[in-house]
Symmetry: C2
Subunit: 449 residues, 2 copies
């Protein structure tokens, strides 16, 4: 750890590393575990990261580049220079290669693709052929062709020959002679089986997905099965690739980062925080802030409408942040719960009524509790009539916010929007405006203004 | 899918299933893919879930029970009856068994433990011996003993014999005769190697963790390595177990659910939303709401102090929700970004100064933009002096909130609290109070009140 920190300090202090320093740093890098070097690169600006990659041995620099996120790899392309880029690109797995291409301008992507040799280009083309966001785009097309009429011994022989060229030899799709997926067998089963047995007798019913299936949904469904990999088929059921657990982990990780970002009212950064240029951080936040500020103008409007009421009883303005805050919190609680449940598949869009009915009751219970406390406290300090206004507003606001907060993510999903967008900031802003209307209507009635 | 929905409706309509119905439902369940049955159970109340489990064949009911979360399993214990529970418990993997024990009252846990036979109890004891929250508690202790002086053929023979009793045969820790971990080899490598070669020549430097390491941190560090499993050692470097990718996925999944819940101001539910009893949902939210409402009393206090200013210029109250809302949003943006970066290891606690410096600048840029727009709009409608108050408050509030929002999660982590707690609700509530103070101080100065 300390050695990496020292390296980081050296790299930070000098943009250009003098040649005599370079040899020393290269020697230290060579002794650093690969995972630490990846971390170091992830935390550095593009220029510095390129310096590190150039000082590493060929084998290690390829491994480090391979371990970076596609967006981060794309960021390094300019700083690295063509020769290194072509080499790194050729060494990537076809699915990672496609992820990187997706991050690049079309012109650079095309140039990179042309540097590949024929078979590599062809296999990359298979993955590129599936639409963005589909599982076909994230699978590995390098899968062995094992036929149902083979024996265990024949299968093992074939595996030994192709072991270096395929993504995994642990989960093995079995196909018919026309490449239709008919079963799956694990190396573990082959390993303990009689050599003369046919794979058709040993194979199990396959868990599989279609290449056009939505990537995030498929990955979330696949991961809890605790299996290493599953075959991917085309529309006519023919084997086209395999999805391994680590690809699924990446997909879910990206989706979770996106959900977290959206529920925190900004766009995901796509690359490590400390190595993201400052203006890109600002850009990931400003649009959301503007949209939310514009929606917040609604609250100015509402308050403007009730300005006479406010002028007549200034005490009402004291509770504005408390009431809008509590409404926002209750709404967020419901929204984050349902958004997460949707992502995990625990709640389906058709459950909208069960969810609404649950949240109405939860909201009423929470509102009754908070409302009673609010009634008591506000009565003590500001008199019974204010107490009644605060107490009943809290009850109504909690009930409304919980219900709306629970239902909104489902509606978002139904209309094809990201449920996470509706989990935090929008719920707050919208519940602010409605909460204030409820508040002033109750106040006008109770206080007779 | 439709068949499962039909089953769900039948189960929902009758708490007690008449015997003549039972046979029919059992037949339909038997034809339903196992993964669908798991979903069905996850969405049902404990009583109904127990009915489903009892109607399944022995083999399938064990598989379904095994697939549930520990908290959900614990919930079913009462409804299932002792005999079924003992059977399910005996079939769980040692690490899953320990997770379930952790969810149960000590008395029931003790009784369950006593139902195990000697060797199973011993192996469960190994896992139970590590503290909660450590990776030792989540590893599998069932790992083959492969020694460095063995040849490839000897290793393969041994693996064939023990294949059914160990967690995985794909990632193989190699140990010295005193059980010290010396290397790791994959079955893939063994598979393509010469039978007479020694494993010591082929094995690689192991990626491993110590059993006392913190579980979440270890799992987050392990998953991006894209390897299937890693050995776990005790304090003297001896092999005690193995952590597989699916255990790591579960740990990270749980941690993410917790972070999401906390940043949405509630506690995680531990089990699927629709099968969680209503009062438990209320309980997961009420404490947070109360704490946040109490902190929101701060804002009432602040506004009370400035009541004279408010009475003199009621127009000031119109902007309260807009200003507190924008401050809260800016703070949350910074906080969710840094919380996620901390969780992923992109930011370490010692980076606090770099983070603060980034967020000051980001906050100033965001504040300058929003402030300028605020100045323009408010001047148009309410006059230049109000415009100046709103514009400069927005600038200061954005700068402060971004900085505090970025730094708070790191401080939380440093003092051993959950950074996610500080990512959303607390930041909002605290920035509300400080934002209001700034607002009224500026207003008093500019408006000369």
């Amino acid at each position: 750890m300390t050695d990496v920190d020292a390296l980081e300090r050296i790299l930070r202090s000098a943009e250009d590393i003098p040649p005599e320093r370079a040899a020393e740093i290269a020697a230290r890098l060579e002794k650093t575990p690969i995972q630490e070097v990846v971390r170091l690169v992830e935390r550095s600006t593009a220029t510095r990261a390129a310096v590190v990659l150039r000082l590493l041995s060929r084998r290690r620099s390829i491994a480090v580049f391979d371990a970076l996120d596609a967006a981060h790899q794309a960021d390094l392309i300019d700083a690295l220079g063509d020769r290194a880029v072509y080499e790194f690109f050729a060494e990537l797995d076809p699915d990672d290669r496609v992820s990187l291409l997706d991050e690049l301008p079309a012109e650079i992507a095309g140039r990179l693709l042309r540097t590949l040799d024929g078979s590599e280009r062809e296999i990359t083309g298979v993955v590129l052929g599936y639409p963005k966001g589909s599982i076909g785009r994230r699978m590995s097309p390098e899968v062995p062709h094992l036929y149902e009429d083979m024996s265990v011994d024949e299968t093992m022989d074939k595996l030994r020959r192709v072991a270096d060229d395929v993504e995994t030899i642990y989960t093995l799709p079995i196909i018919s002679r026309d490449r239709t997926l008919v079963g799956v067998i694990s190396l573990r089963e082959l390993f303990t089986a009689e050599g003369s047995a046919g794979v058709a007798e040993l194979m199990a019913e396959p868990v599989f997905a279609s290449a056009h299936d939505e990537a995030e949904e498929t990955a979330r469904w696949f991961l809890p099965l605790d299996i290493l990999a599953m075959p991917i088929v085309d529309d006519s059921g023919r084997l086209v690739g395999i999805l391994t657990f680590d690809d699924a982990v990446d997909i879910v990780e990206d989706a979770d980062s996106e959900d977290t970002a959206r529920s925190g009212a900004h766009e995901p950064l796509q690359q490590p925080y400390l190595s993201t240029p400052l203006l890109r951080v600002v850009r990931s936040r400003i649009v959301w802030l503007l949209v939310l500020a514009v929606s917040a103008l609604l609250t100015v409007q509402v308050l403007d409408t009730f300005e006479d009421t406010l002028a007549a009883a200034v005490v009402l303005s004291l509770f504005i942040p408390l009431l809008t805050g509590t409404g926002g919190n209750t709404g967020n609680q419901a929204a984050t719960t349902v958004t997460r449940a949707l992502a995990l598949g625990d709640v389906r869009p058709r459950d909208v009524l069960s969810v609404a009915w649950r949240e109405v009751r939860v909201g009423m219970l929470l509102g009754a509790l908070l409302g009673t406390i609010g009634l008591g406290l506000a009565s003590l300090v500001y008199g019974l009539d204010i107490g009644i206004v605060i107490g009943s507003t809290l009850f109504l606001v909690c009930t409304m916010s919980a219900t709306v907060g629970g239902v909104m993510p489902i509606i978002a999903k139904k209309v094809g929007a990201d449920p996470a967008v509706f989990s935090n900031p929008f719920i707050s802003t919208l519940s602010d405006a409605t909460g204030l209307i409820v508040y002033f209507l109750i106040a006008k009635t109770v206080l007779g203004l």
